[in-house]
């Protein structure tokens, strides 16, 4: 206590507590740069002047008028001071303060300050009014079935949802403050009995060691704590689905929740976790496996299809079967450009459509899609700008890239296509193989929070194929992903799951 008092006397150089009402008002005004939003109400209670300060839009008026003011004005006791008020007012979160800067900071965060003239301390009551949107359906990661609830921008309600979904004391939440100029609250959450300590420490340490002005969003935080910031691939998964986060936590991963951001980070992530949805889990195992393999193939196709077309038509006519060559030749007969230009033109067209669709308001965006997709495509072929077959190929690869459940991963795949097309156009199959080899080595080099990005392929953990590349029925896969190094490896007993009954027993 003494220490803080000394500190306060240092900071406010001219004078310190006690103040007159005018003095404290002036001081607060100075701190807020004469802001018109600082309100003061003055009362006289038991012959003593009492002032209440607050920032109009930061506090809950109903609470002020119902819980704070009436009891305050009804106080009968003599010798009014902060202790009496603290005792009489039926509100939690009251704090006695003797530091004017701290009072100002509390006012910003939604406190009302009560000060009795010439008292040693002022009281602050936290009655904040937080504007937030209500919880709504997930927009970006849409699901056909399964829980539809999604996170919002408010840390409090996000934590509330997480706690509601995982009601166990095992869930550990650590608080870290990030941002030197505009501090933002971060919570690292994990299941104590599952998550690997090393993973938790790495995440925590990286966030703690950040020296930044502020963190705009959790996606920015992800970029700041990633292993390789030069790579095009996202290395930390972001999700707006609480069920997805909880599913990951139950597998021994670590979550990071940032205030003011509707996305939650999940680490360590592998390249395959960007291609899975919780829907695969909600569906039956064979359907889920199919969907996952479909997406994986789609990604590979999306990168290789258009470049293969360009390479084959520029250099390797021999590869195309003669029956196909006729129709290809016919449709390309009127095209004046080399295949590489033709492909780049169409790919850019698709990218423009996507970008325009994303920027425009929804109502206009739909029209855009129709105009772009049907009218422009038709016109391009009729005008002899591109061949029919290329339209099919480009549409197929664009469609493939949109199947990525993670928007970031889908974008990465689409962008990788461009250098691949250029290399295929310049050096044919050799160029394509170069890009492909580069990608593979690049993926091998990547790590997510120090854990290999290509796991479970490399290092090979066959047991982890379940729940990353395919899904197995519950009787077979009973381990948590070993590449997360969970403390408890078995999710349930294998013996019990495999117990078989005889016919008609």
């Amino acid at each position: 206590m003494r220490r803080s008092r000394r500190k306060s006397s240092n900071s406010s150089s001219s004078s310190s507590f006690p103040y007159t009402i005018e003095e404290i008002h002036q001081k607060l005004k100075d701190i807020f740069h004469q802001s018109p939003d600082l309100n003061m109400v003055e009362y006289t209670i038991q012959q003593k002047k009492v002032a209440i300060f607050y920032i109009t839009y930061q506090i809950n008026k109903v609470q002020l008028n119902k819980s704070l003011l009436p009891p305050l004005l009804k106080i009968q006791q003599q010798n009014l001071d902060h202790k009496v008020i603290l005792n009489e007012i039926p509100l939690g979160g009251g704090e006695a303060q003797d530091n004017i800067d701290k009072i100002a900071s509390n006012l910003i965060h939604g406190s009302a300050c009560v000060y009795v003239e010439q008292d040693e301390k002022a009281l602050t009551y936290l009655i904040p009014e937080l504007e937030q949107r209500s919880i709504s359906r997930a927009e970006n990661e849409s699901l056909v079935f399964g829980p539809q609830i999604s996170f919002t921008e408010s840390l409090v309600s996000n934590l509330n949802i997480i706690r509601w979904r995982m009601d166990t004391p095992d869930l550990e939440v650590k608080k870290i403050i990030v941002g030197e100029r505009i501090p933002t609250e971060v919570r690292v959450i994990y299941l104590k009995s599952l998550a690997d300590d090393e993973n938790v420490n790495t995440v925590q340490q990286r966030i703690e060691e950040l020296k930044v002005d502020d963190v705009l969003d959790s996606s920015v935080l992800a970029q700041l704590i990633e292993d390789n910031s030069r790579s095009i691939f996202p290395q930390i998964l972001q999700t707006e689905l609480p069920d997805r986060l909880c599913y990951a936590l139950k597998k021994g991963k670590v979550g990071v929740v940032l205030d003011k951001s509707p996305n939650v980070l999940i680490a360590p992530s592998t390249v395959f976790s960007f291609l899975e949805t919780t829907e695969d889990v909600y569906m039956r195992w064979n359907m889920g496996s199919f969907a996952r393999i479909l997406r994986l193939t789609a990604m590979v196709l999306s990168i290789l299809l258009t470049p293969a077309y360009v390479a084959a038509l520029t250099f390797h006519y021999e590869v195309i079967p003669s029956s196909m060559l006729v129709s290809l030749g016919q449709s390309r007969a009127t095209v004046p450009f080399p295949p590489i230009l033709e492909a780049l033109l169409l790919e850019i067209l698709i990218e423009l459509l996507r970008e325009a669709g994303a920027r425009l308001p929804t109502k206009v965006g739909q029209t855009m899609g129709i105009v772009g997709g049907i009218v422009l495509g038709q016109a391009a072929v009729k005008a002899g700008f591109t061949s029919n077959i290329l339209i099919i190929i480009v549409a197929l690869s664009a469609l493939s890239s949109f199947t990525a459940p993670s928007y970031l991963m889908g974008t990465a795949i689409r962008i990788i296509r461009f250098p691949t097309i250029i290399f295929a156009g310049l050096w044919g199959l050799v160029g394509m193989l170069f890009v492909f080899g580069f990608l593979i080595i690049h993926l091998l080099r990547l790590t997510s929070i120090g854990r290999p990005y290509l796991s479970p392929i490399y290092p090979l953990t066959i047991k982890d194929f379940n729940d990353s590349i395919i899904r197995l029925p519950a009787t077979i896969g009973n381990t948590r992903p070993l590449s997360n190094h969970p403390k408890d490896k078995k999710a349930y007993s294998e013996k019990k799951a495999k117990k078989k009954k005889d016919i008609d027993e």
């Binding site: 044919g428 199959l429 593979i440």
Partner: protein
């Protein structure tokens, strides 16, 4: 005796499982493209027997290497040489080994460049093809041993399916080509086996990565399996080539393995050999990565320089060196040189070294008991 000990950080240690891929991908590379012709020249239609003889010899060599390594705790070739020959001779021998490795690497680079120029792009300069390969190798090696091993492992799976495409030539095999069975003399068979060893160099990597392996007990089985797969693949390719091509035809084919891909067709793909030759880049890429890693790691061990610096010097040297050889004659010279030196370095030297180590061990043991 157990002083030679190489310390490896536990986070870059690998399991013996990956040793299989390291040894195997190192052995299969540019050599297998043309091995049937080379053996056929020596032992005619009994060439496949030569492959089997060479296979036995491979297993024997692995056995010798493992025995040699087991004499020490956790040593590699550099440490063993230092223990046996002292500082200066071992440094000379190590440098020699690095030079041999670099010669093999340039031979691989040159051969693949030529294949690309013959099959796909007659006008693509070798400057460019070697640049592509060396760039990828540098990128992988700067990622560390984990990435080097990973690329050996992943590129193995990306290319092993090419074996199944041999199904088509098998259907065209003429069984008469294999008879008479005992046409070649034992000497010719041995010569054929000797020539086979040229294309399966690379198992010497075991002598260098041994300290990196965490479960030493499984080393022999992984190494033997790797060599076994190499033998099987070489055997398959040789055996099918003999049946598929007629004798004079086979003697003319520089790359019979690749030529066999020519008849493979799919409904959406007419000339499979283009894909196969381009994909062959992935067969030799782990080769190049591992060999260059070996050379740069060796330079670090011998001269205590930074591996990064050694790597850059090696890459620049290789790039400059390989682009001097534009004519077939020169490529053959360098390949033969690599093969001949390789035979002694890989298949003779370990036996010799094991002998010395064993004798020395006995000698020091005897001395030890004598003083008691």
């Amino acid at each position: 005796m157990n002083q030679a000990h190489v310390k490896i950080k536990p986070n870059i240690q690998i399991t013996a499982f990956y040793l299989f891929f390291i040894i195997h991908t190192m052995q299969i590379g540019a050599g297998i493209m043309g091995v049937p012709q080379i053996i056929y020249k020596e032992s005619k239609n009994n060439a496949w027997i030569s492959v089997l003889i060479a296979g036995v010899f491979l297993h024997l060599t692995i056995f010798v290497m493992v025995t040699l390594l087991k004499q020490y705790n956790n040593a590699d070739l550099f440490a063993i040489q230092k223990d046996v020959f002292g500082k200066w001779i071992s440094r000379f021998l190590g440098t020699f080994y690095i030079l041999y490795v670099l010669t093999v690497t340039s031979s691989i680079l040159l051969n693949y460049t030529e294949v690309v120029q013959v099959f796909i792009f007659p006008k693509m300069p070798s400057l460019q093809i070697t640049f592509f390969l060396l760039f990828l190798a540098t990128y992988a090696i700067t990622g560390g041993f984990r990435v080097v091993v990973g690329s050996a492992y992943l590129f193995f799976f990306l290319t092993i399916w090419l074996v199944f495409s041999l199904y088509e030539p098998v259907r065209h095999v003429d069984w008469d080509h294999y008879f008479p069975l005992s046409q070649a003399t034992p000497k010719e068979l041995m010569l054929g086996a000797y020539k086979t060893t040229f294309s399966v160099l690379g198992l010497e990597v075991l002598l260098f990565v041994y300290p990196f392996i965490s479960n030493k007990k499984k080393v022999p089985i992984a190494a033997h399996l790797a060599v076994l797969l190499t033998t099987i693949l070489t055997f398959l390719v040789t055996f099918i080539s003999i049946g598929y091509f007629s004798g004079p035809q086979l003697e003319e084919q520089i790359w019979p393995t690749l030529a066999m891909f020519k008849i493979i067709q799919f409904s959406i793909l007419e000339r499979f050999d283009f894909i196969a030759v381009a994909f062959w880049g992935f067969v030799i890429l782990p080769n190049i990565i591992l060999f260059i890693w070996l050379a740069s790691y060796g330079a670090k061990r011998l001269y205590h320089v930074k591996q990064k610096h050694a790597l850059y010097v090696i890459i620049i040297l290789l790039y400059a060196f390989t682009n001097f050889f534009e004519y077939r004659f020169n490529i053959n010279t360098i390949t033969d040189l690599a093969a001949n030196v390789g035979f002694y370095a890989v298949f003779i030297y370990p036996y010799f070294l094991l002998l010395i180590v064993l004798v020395k061990k006995k000698f020091t043991k005897g001395q030890g008991s004598g003083t008691k």
